[in-house]
C-alpha cells in the first residue's frame, strides 16, 4: 500500500476529566475521499480540529507526507498545505467571489505600486479566481465580481470549496459541507468534492448525511467513543451496518479495510 498523505497516531485530547479523543488514529491516502462519521461526542470534530491546527492534542503524532508536523494554529496547517472548510462557512458575504477566494492572502501588484502603494493586483486575482472556479466546473458563475451574499447556499459552499482546492496543496478537509443544503445543491457539492479529488487532492469529509457519505467516499472512518472503531468501504458494508457500528449496536469488524 502507498504511504498515507496525512496520518494521525494516538491522538488524545482531554478537557479536564472529559476525554474528547482517546488515542485515535487516522490515515488519509493519496487520491481518496475519506469520510469521517460518528455519533455526536464521538470525537470526530476534535480529531479534525487537531488535523487542521485548531486544537493542540495532548498526546499523539501527526505526519504529513511521512514527516512529523506540530500545528499550533490553523495558519500552521494551512501553510503546510492543509485547507479546511469550516461548517460555519468561512466566507465574507459582503465581499465578492474573487475577494473571498483570496481573503487573507491577497496578492499585490508587482513593482512600486504593490510595495509602496500596497495596491492589490485585482485583475490577476480575478483571472485566477475565474480559472479556479472553472477548473472545478463552476464556470457558469459568470460574474466573479458578484457579492457572495447574492449567491445561494450551494454556490457559497462552492466558493469555499474552490478556495480550499485552490490553495490546499496536500489535503482538503470539509466539515459538513452539505448540511445546510437542499437535495439538488447537496448533489452539486458532492460532485465538486469528487472534482477536487480527481484533481489529485485527497479529501477528508465529515458528514452526518449517510447517503452522501456512501455516495462519494472511497473509505469510511467510523469514530466511536473517542477512537477509530474501524474503517469500512461503501462496498464492504451497508449504510445500516455503518450506523450500527457507529452507535455501538454492532461490533466493528476486526480487520480495518
Amino acid at each position: 500500500m502507498t504511504e498515507p498523505v496525512l496520518q494521525a497516531k494516538g491522538i488524545t485530547k482531554r478537557y479536564g476529566r472529559v476525554v474528547a479523543i482517546d488515542g485515535s488514529d487516522l490515515e488519509l491516502y493519496p487520491g481518496e475521499i475519506l469520510a469521517v462519521i460518528g455519533d455526536n461526542g464521538a470525537g470526530k470534530s476534535s480529531l479534525i480540529k487537531a488535523l487542521s491546527g485548531a486544537l493542540i492534542p495532548d498526546e499523539g503524532e501527526i505526519f504529513l507526507d511521512g514527516a512529523q508536523v506540530h500545528f499550533r494554529t490553523p495558519m500552521d496547517a494551512r501553510a503546510a498545505g492543509i485547507e479546511t472548510v469550516y461548517q460555519t462557512l468561512a466566507v465574507a458575504p459582503g465581499l465578492d467571489i474573487a475577494d473571498n477566494l483570496f481573503l487573507g492572502r491577497e496578492e499585490r501588484k508587482p513593482g512600486v505600486l504593490g510595495s509602496v502603494f500596497r495596491m492589490l493586483d485585482r485583475s490577476h486575482m480575478r483571472a485566477e479566481a475565474k480559472r479556479h472556479m472553472s477548473e472545478l466546473g463552476v464556470a457558469t458563475l459568470q460574474n466573479i465580481g458578484q457579492a457572495v451574499e447574492s449567491l445561494s447556499g450551494g454556490q457559497r459552499q462552492a466558493v469555499a470549496v474552490a478556495r480550499s482546492a485552490a490553495f490546499g496543496s496536500k489535503v482538503v478537509i470539509l466539515d459538513e459541507p452539505t448540511a445546510a443544503l437542499g437535495v439538488k445543491e447537496g448533489n452539486r457539492v458532492l460532485q465538486l468534492i469528487r472534482d477536487v479529488r480527481d484533481r489529485g487532492l485527497p479529501v477528508i469529509l465529515i458528514s452526518h448525511n449517510m447517503p452522501h457519505v456512501f455516495e462519494v467516499a472511497d473509505r469510511i472512518h467510523i469514530q466511536r467513543l473517542g477512537r477509530r472503531a474501524t474503517v469500512i468501504t461503501p462496498k464492504s458494508h451497508s449504510m445500516s451496518e455503518a450506523v450500527a457500528i457507529m452507535t455501538g449496536a454492532a461490533e466493528p469488524p476486526t480487520a480495518a479495510a
Binding site: T88, A92, G94, L103, G104, R118, V138, G154
Partner: protein, 337 residues
C-alpha cells in the same frame, strides 16, 4: 446543468421595487446621491441664492470638519463598531495643539505633530479596550467620550485660545483661495485628499478588504487567516488620527481653539455615515457615501435656513432623514436572489 455546481438562473421579470432594491444593493451610493441631487434642486428652486458659488463654498466649509470626523467614523462602523468619542477626540486634540503653542510655547509644526499624535493615541486607547479587554465599542467610546471631554476642560481651563495667539500654521486650514466666487479652504482640500486616500485604501488594498471582512463576519474573517484584532486596532487608531486632523481643521474654521464646541460632532459624524448608506451592522458602505452623507447634512441645514425654516426644525428634518436611511438599509439587507 448536470456538472455545473453553481448555475445562475436568468433573472425573471422583477417588479420595479425589487429592481430598485437590487440596484441599491449592488451600488449603495445611488440612494444618498439621489437624495443629495434632489435636495440641491429643490433648495435652489426655493431660494435662488442657494446655488450661488458663494453659498456652495459656505456649505463645503460648514461640512469639512464633520466630513473628516465621519471619515474616521466610517472606518469604525464598517467593522460593525461605533465611535461616540469622535468629536471629543477632535476637540481635545485641537485644545491640546493650542495649549502646546501658547502654554508650552512650541513652534506650530511641533504643536501640530504632537497634537495629531495625541489624537492617534486616544484612538489607540479605544482600540486597545475594544480588542484586548473585548468591551463593546459603544461602551468603550461612551466612557472615553466622557473622559476626553473632562480632560479637555482640565487642560484648557475651559478657556478659548484665539487664533491670533497661535502660530499661523494652526489656523492655516481656514485660509482659502478663490476659484471664481467659490472659496476653497485648505482644510477642505485636506479633507477631500483624505477621502481620496481612504477610498483607495479601502477598495484597493488588502487592509481595506480585511476591514470589510472583519465587519461582515468576524469569525469568518478570522478563519480565513485575518488577524481581526489587528485590523480593529488599526481602524480605531487611524480614526483617532483622522479626528485629530479634524480638530486642526476645526481651529481654522473657528479661528480659535475652544473646549466648549463640538458636543454635537459625535452624533453628527454618525449621522453623515448613516445617511451615506454605510450599514451600522458593518461590512457594507463606502467613504464616498459618507462624503455624500456629510454634504446632505450640510445642504439640508443651509437650504432650510435659506428657505426660512427655523433652526429647531432643521434638526427634525435631519433626524427624519436618518430614520429613513436606516430603514432603507434594513430593506436592502433583505435582498434575495
Amino acid at each position: 446543468m448536470a456538472t455545473a455546481t453553481a448555475d445562475f438562473d436568468v433573472r425573471r421579470h422583477d417588479s420595479f421595487g425589487l429592481r430598485v432594491q437590487h440596484a441599491l444593493h449592488a451600488n449603495p451610493v445611488l440612494g444618498p446621491l439621489a437624495v443629495l441631487i434632489v435636495a440641491i434642486i429643490a433648495f435652489s428652486i426655493v431660494n435662488a441664492r442657494f446655488l450661488t458659488a458663494t453659498n456652495l463654498s459656505l456649505v463645503l466649509q460648514q461640512v469639512t470638519v464633520i466630513a473628516t470626523l465621519a471619515l474616521g467614523q466610517t472606518l469604525i462602523i464598517l467593522t460593525a463598531g461605533i465611535d461616540l468619542s469622535a468629536g471629543a477626540i477632535a476637540v481635545f486634540s485641537s485644545v491640546l495643539m493650542a495649549q502646546f503653542c501658547t502654554k508650552a510655547g512650541m513652534p506650530g509644526v511641533i504643536a501640530l505633530v504632537l497634537g495629531l499624535a495625541c489624537g492617534t493615541a486616544m484612538g489607540a486607547i479605544n482600540g486597545t479596550l475594544v480588542t484586548r479587554i473585548k468591551l463593546p465599542p459603544f461602551i468603550v467610546t461612551l466612557g472615553t467620550l466622557t473622559i476626553f471631554f473632562s480632560l479637555n476642560s482640565v487642560v484648557s481651563n475651559s478657556e478659548t485660545v484665539r487664533g491670533s495667539d497661535m502660530p499661523g500654521l494652526m489656523t492655516w486650514t481656514g485660509n482659502s483661495f478663490p476659484i471664481g466666487n467659490f472659496h476653497l479652504t485648505y482644510g477642505s482640500i485636506i479633507m477631500l485628499l483624505l477621502f481620496a486616500y481612504f477610498f483607495y485604501a479601502l477598495s484597493r488594498t488588502a487592509w481595506g478588504k480585511h476591514v470589510y471582512a472583519t465587519g461582515d463576519d468576524v469569525e469568518a474573517a478570522r478563519l480565513a487567516g485575518i488577524r481581526t484584532g489587528r485590523v480593529l486596532f488599526s481602524v480605531y487608531t487611524v480614526a483617532g488620527l483622522l479626528y485629530a486632523i479634524g480638530g486642526w481643521i476645526l481651529i481654522g474654521r473657528l479661528a480659535s481653539a475652544s473646549p466648549n464646541v463640538g458636543t454635537e460632532y459625535n452624533l453628527d459624524s454618525i449621522t453623515a455615515v448613516v445617511l451615506g448608506g454605510t450599514s451600522l451592522f458593518g461590512g457594507r458602505g463606502s467613504v464616498i457615501g459618507t462624503l455624500i452623507g456629510a454634504l446632505i447634512v450640510g445642504v439640508f441645514r443651509n437650504g432650510l435656513q435659506l428657505a426660512g425654516v427655523e433652526v429647531v426644525w432643521q434638526g427634525f428634518a435631519i433626524g427624519l432623514l436618518v430614520l429613513i436611511a436606516v430603514s432603507i438599509d434594513q430593506w436592502i439587507r433583505k435582498v434575495k436572489t
